[in-house]
Amino acid sequence: MAAHLVAKTSEIAEDEAKKVIIGDQHVAVFNLGGEFYATDDICTHAYASLSEGYIEDGCVECPLHAGRFDIKTGKAQGVPVTEDIKTFPVRVDGDNVYVEI
């Protein structure tokens, strides 16, 4: 596992996300109330970018079919998404946001 610098904290506004690509892995980095989290960017249901989704109550809603995932745990919240989304550890050092993959 290696830490990858993915963003400055100021780059991602609250309840917003940034998409980054680390190797072959598409990652969505979220800011939830000042805390940063990272998940696989590609929905488990269909090919869509979760970083383009709507964020509310700690969940991200897929922009394609409105399937929802808990951003912190990756837990799928019900139809049409049944498979959880992968999550990645995030570390904030000063104003640098690192994702470990």
């Binding site: 269909a46 090919y47 869509a48 383009e52 989704g53 709507y54 809603e61 897929c62 922009p63 394609l64 079919h65 409105a66 139809v79 049409p80 049944t82």
Partner: protein
């Protein structure tokens, strides 16, 4: 309710599958029988004209649940079997294998079948349709680099097939009867935006024309259009709409909507048909929408899923109206197109962002209300677009057009 009660669902597509799941989700412990004509487990159809056709999605990925799910949840699957007749008085459905299955409650989720081309040559080899997995798997190997494809019909299915075929290196011509593509679901100006995106990708679009005949010696060779244009082709794909599979209901005396493409089995806002204990959902249901205050039939992923869930719950729990703003979406090239509402009329359009550059929204306005919207790569705004249509709250054109004003604030 007795736990011995038996529910039969006719149709094991997306709607039937989600309905069975929702019955168990609602705590129904009786018998659930899912009868489906296709041999496949219940699946979602959107990938059939996109990822599955392109070969970028595995077949297993389109199914709702693995086979084990049905065993574990005691859902009896009768696949490869069609329902022949509903015997309302006897409370049973006669099946194509000469058996019958008894029900206390019945859901009809028979969906639709493709409208077929009726012109001379329509039965030649090389004419394809897309409705089920088998159709897609038959067409897929034909869409090779350099193959000449004529797509009949410039609706969502036709344009999605055109985009997929183009990406696979085919030479593609779309033939649309109306003056613009997407004529059934969009303003001509919106259709023109989408047509331009196809032009830029090298798709040739012919509008205001239909197919007079297809020529060929066993295999398709030429498509002759009514405007005189002749296309040399290797493959013809037809996407000219579907017809609701309502006959089994009509023959049982259950009320249906007007004949033709609208048609469908008439249900109220709870999914109840004119017959006691008989419900319908999905593409086949000509349902009352309390938001739009009219009956309509929808052919969409969202309706297939959400009407299934709502109506299944109404079969076993206290009824709650199925009341959602219609929602459609389509993927073509790098464009995700989403539509909120199903307006029949509007008096003007308001544009936000730059739809021509594949990032923006077109609002359909009636007076000071949003009655519909088409979003170009703006999926995250869909919930607000639906909300604007649902509430019918008065809004200013200038606010909608101003990207500096958030739609979540405008929608309230």
């Amino acid at each position: 309710m007795s736990t011995l009660e038996s529910i039969v669902i006719i149709g094991a597509g997306h709607t039937g599958g989600r309905a069975a799941e929702a019955l168990r989700g609602a705590g129904f412990a009786g018998r659930v029988v899912l009868v489906g004509e296709e041999s496949h487990l219940p699946y979602e159809r959107p990938p059939l004209s996109k990822e599955l056709l392109a070969g970028t999605m595995e077949l297993e990925k389109v199914t709702l649940n693995p086979e084990s799910y049905y065993d574990e949840n005691n859902i009896q699957l009768l696949l490869g079997i069609s329902a022949q007749e509903i015997e309302l008085g006897l409370g049973r459905v006669r099946l194509s294998d000469d058996t019958d299955v008894a029900f206390d409650k019945l859901m009809i989720a028979t969906g639709g079948r493709v409208r077929r081309l009726a012109c001379p040559g329509a039965d030649l080899h090389g004419v394809y349709y897309i409705r089920d997995i088998n159709d897609t798997l038959l067409l897929r190997p034909e869409l090779r680099d350099g193959v000449r494809v004529a797509v009949i019909g410039g609706g969502f299915i036709g344009l999605e097939v055109a985009a997929t075929a183009r990406r696979r290196g085919c030479h593609v011509t779309v033939i649309e009867l109306a003056d613009q593509v997407l004529a059934r679901v969009a303003d001509p100006a919106v259709g023109a935006l989408v047509a331009d995106i196809h032009h830029a990708e090298g798709v040739h679009i012919v509008t205001g024309a239909s197919v007079e005949r297809i020529e060929g010696d066993a295999e398709v060779a030429e498509v002759i259009c009514t405007d005189g244009e002749t296309l040399e082709v290797d493959v013809v794909v037809v996407g000219i709409g579907i017809l609701p599979n309502q006959e089994i209901a009509a023959e049982a005396g259950i009320a249906c909507g007007p004949k033709g493409t609208q048609g469908g089995i008439k249900v109220d806002e709870f999914g109840h048909t004119s017959a006691a204990n008989v419900y319908a959902a999905g593409d086949v249901a000509f349902h009352y929408n309390p938001i739009l205050k009219r009956h309509l039939r929808l052919e969409s992923w969202g309706n297939a899923q959400n009407s299934a869930i709502a109506v299944a719950r109404n079969m076993v729990l206290d009824p709650v109206a199925y009341a959602e703003v219609p929602w459609f979406w389509s993927d073509q090239f790098d464009l995700n197109l989403q539509v909120a509402g199903a307006p029949e009329t509007w008096d003007r359009l308001v544009v936000r962002g730059d739809p021509a550059a594949k990032k923006g929204i077109v609002f359909y306005m009636t007076g000071d209300r949003v009655v519909g919207a088409t979003a170009f790569n703006q999926g995250r705004e869909m919930r607000f677009l639906k909300k604007l249509v649902e509430t019918g709250a008065p809004v200013d054109d200038s606010a909608l057009a101003d990207e500096g004003k958030r739609l979540r604030d405008i929608a309230g």
